[in-house]
Every structure is written in C-alpha cells, then in structure tokens.
Symmetry: C2
Subunit: 225 residues, 2 copies
DNA sequence: GCCAGTTTGTTCTCACGTTCACAAACTTTT
DNA sequence: AAAAGTTTGTGAACGTGAGAACAAACTGGC
C-alpha cells in the first residue's frame, strides 16, 4: 500500500458503467447485423434494457462519440466500446476443470465471437486427458505454467469442484494469471492486483427465491431487473 | 404502475444485502460442518470474503440474532438466514434448453442441496426427448404449462440459444412462472411482477478484460472483488 | 441565414451502499 | 460485586450510482 495510487489517469470509468458496456456492445452488434447505421440513445437504451439517461451518461465517460440532433453511428460506437473494453484483439483463456460445466464453457461459442480464445483445457483427472472438447484436447493440470508463459495467458476460468478451487487459483496466480473467473462455489483469496469475478448459480436462484417468497406473502411486487 | 406500493412492510432488506445473504449462508454451512458452534462477525466475515462491519449491518436487517461479547450461534443464524431467503423448504424449478449448459445445470448438485428441486427438463428438439439427464427425462417444451400448474413451479431457468429466449420467457410468464434465471445472452422483456436475473458468461470475461487491459497499461492496480 | 425540431452531454439532486466509530450488552477475572 | 475485556448493533459520515431536467449543438425547412 504505497500511496493513493488512483486518479492519475483522466479516464476513470465507474465500475457500474464498466459492467454495462458489454451489454451496450452486444446491442450494437445486433443493430449492426440488422443493417442499422445510426441509432438514438433512446433506441440503444431500449435494446440494452436500460434507461436512456443512464446510457448517455455511461457513454459520456468514454468520450463524445455521438452527434446532437442525430444520434450515434452504430459501427463507430461499437468499435469505440470494444476498444475501451479491450476486446478488439483476442484474449487467450485457460479453463481448468472439464466436468459438465467445463464442457459447456469450452463449447460456448460466445467466447470466441467476443474476443476470447480458449487455448487450453486442463483437468487433474488423468482419465480425461484422452478427451478432445470443442477441438481442444484436455491436458494435465501440471501443464498450466508452461501454457500460461508460452501463450501469454492473463485470464483463467475455474470450473472445478469447490474443494479444488483455491488450490487452482493459487497455482494460476503463481503462474502469472491476473484475472480469474470463478464458477466454483467458494470464496477465493488472492493477492492484490489479481481480479476475481465469481458466477454462482445457486446464489442467483436463492436471490430469486427470496423475492418469490415475498411476492406470495403480500400483494405482487416485482423487482424487474 | 398503480402507486408507490412500497414501504408498507417493516422488513425492507436492501437488495445489496439480499445478494450477500446466500454467501453468508454458505459460509455458515461450512462452519457448521466443521463443527463450529459459535462464531464472531469477524470470523464469519472472513469466511464470506466481506468486511465485518458490512456483515453486522447486513445481519441487523434480519433482526438481533447475535449475542454481544459472544458472537453468533452458527446453527441458529444459519436457520434464520435460510428462513429469510426462503430455502427452508424446496422450490420446484424447470430448466428449458438442454444443450451443453442445460446438461451442466441439470447435473449441478448445488441446486438440490440448497433448496431447489429440478422437476422438469424441457427442450423443443424432439431428438432430445429420449434422453434422461440427471435422473429426469427430457420432455417437450409444450408440456410446460401442464408441469407448471401441476407442480406449482414459480422459478424457471432459460438455457436456450439467444434467439429462443424471449419466446420461452413469454411462455413461462403465461404459464404462471414469476421468477426467471436467464443464461441466454439476450435482454428479456417481461411484465411487472416478474423477476429476471441474468448470468452472462461472456460479459463477465469482458469485465475482466477491461481491468486486465488497464493493468498492463500503467502500474498494476487490482480491483480485488 | 434564421427558426423549429431533435438529440446529445452534463449538471444537479436524491437514493443507496459502504465504512467508521462507539455505546450497549454480554462474559470473565479479580 | 466491580472492573476489565469482548463483541454486537447502529448512528453518522462518506462515496457511488440513478434519474430528471436542461443547455448546447446539430439537422432540415423556408
């Protein structure tokens, strides 16, 4: 903790905005594919499922890419957001844990088409090392370090059982990975400088259950997210 | 939009707190399994990966379940949180779309053990109707209405391709489902009173990519979530 | 060239969420 | 029984996010 390291940089995009940029990007891709050349903040906001004031404010953090009285050029804005997120070039990704979920992730076409390339599938179980999933063959977990350094991997995905997740994370960090997407239902402890995002299926259901329970208690009351 | 329907109820738990309750619950289950009878807010906070002041404030919305100078009774607090979330009894759930991801979800043991029961797997493709996944057989999507009404299903999971998701959601809502967990990369439009939560794999990766890109630009600076 | 219409970018205000700090309430020791 | 030590529950300060509202900047018609 050297000092207040922040705020030297002009562009400080709020976290809430960063989380929405990929949604806008997807909406823009859809519009572009439909042949739309220009769109207003109102249209794009509708496509992204947010309110237009919020959309305009979010976009204003990136710069002034719209034209007053006209709207946004779809392809131009699409490129600017992709550049800001950093998905104009591909990110190599390793997936560890090739169970049911790992299979699904390896086969998910949305990764490839959105700036990510699965360069390796790793599993500790030797029985799986013969398998080929989505055109990539499953390799021993011990190959991690080699793959990470050779391919310059910065992002790792953990799809192992909960008990193994922390060990996998430790090895990933030691190997040089600095961003982890964790599907295992565990809290990961990582050093400063390493980002972790978690996706927890049962937590999402539990949140729904909470609201569902309340709906049935009193008059219906939705929290349409 | 009839009126400001809120605030008639005493217990109004903030959304941010609701999202963390399942995390606390999981930590408590782990502690309980390890034989721990009592824990302080500091310990539980560490296990849940949050700061202890936040934990205490979150718990205070539920009531006063701790003892000053002592801490929390693990099993008692566990029950109270489970009751508040509504997972003391099982919720029947239907999963629509039995592709790779649907398979993974159907096999996910974390649902069953955390208050959810997969009562049906539905898919529009007749080729899949012979399959049995995780002990449940795959049935035609058209059986939705019957299953929902017979089993009293309130929660639906969408694991279809993006193009089908909105149609599935519409059918679910019409059949009486009022909470949807959406894995398809689309913005769903639903009536008031229906909750939607979305899990988007590629968006999570894109958020990581954004931070990763900034790390390599300047001095390392983590946003350890 | 001016005026009416449109749409962005931004300011202001309010609500929500986080963290600190401490009094209240309990246990243990003397 | 009083004092010293713990730990919760909460009030108050601070920071972040959301939405309304409007000025600034553009287009197109006359």
């Amino acid at each position: 903790m050297t000092a207040k390291a922040s705020s030297e940089n002009a562009r400080d995009i709020p976290e809430a905005t960063v989380a929405r940029l990929p949604v806008y990007l997807r909406a823009l891709v859809t519009l572009s594919d439909a042949g739309t050349g220009t769109c207003s903040s109102e249209e794009l906001a509708a496509a992204a499922g947010v309110n237009s004031a919020k959309l305009r404010k979010d976009l204003s953090y990136l710069g002034s890419y719209g034209t007053r009285g006209v709207g946004y050029d779809v392809d131009y804005l699409r490129y600017q957001i992709a550049r800001e997120i950093g998905v104009t070039q591909d990110w190599p990704v390793v997936i560890v844990g090739i169970g049911n979920l790992g299979h699904a992730l390896a086969n998910y076409s949305g990764f490839r088409s959105r700036g990510f390339r699965v360069v390796a599938l790793l599993d500790a179980d030797p029985e799986r090392h013969q398998e080929v999933v989505a055109g990539v063959d499953v390799r021993p977990f011990d190959d991690l370090e080699q793959i990470v350094s050779e391919q310059g991997v910065a992002i790792g995905v953990i799809a192992t059982p909960a008990v193994a997740a922390q060990d996998v994370a430790d090895r990933m960090v030691a190997a040089g990975i600095s961003s982890i997407l964790n599907f295992a239902p565990t809290v990961l402890v990582v050093p400063d400088g390493v980002d972790v995002r978690k996706v927890d299926l049962s937590i999402e259901l539990q949140i729904l259950a909470y609201h569902e329970q309340r709906k049935s208690q009193f008059g219906a009351q939705g929290v349409t997210a």
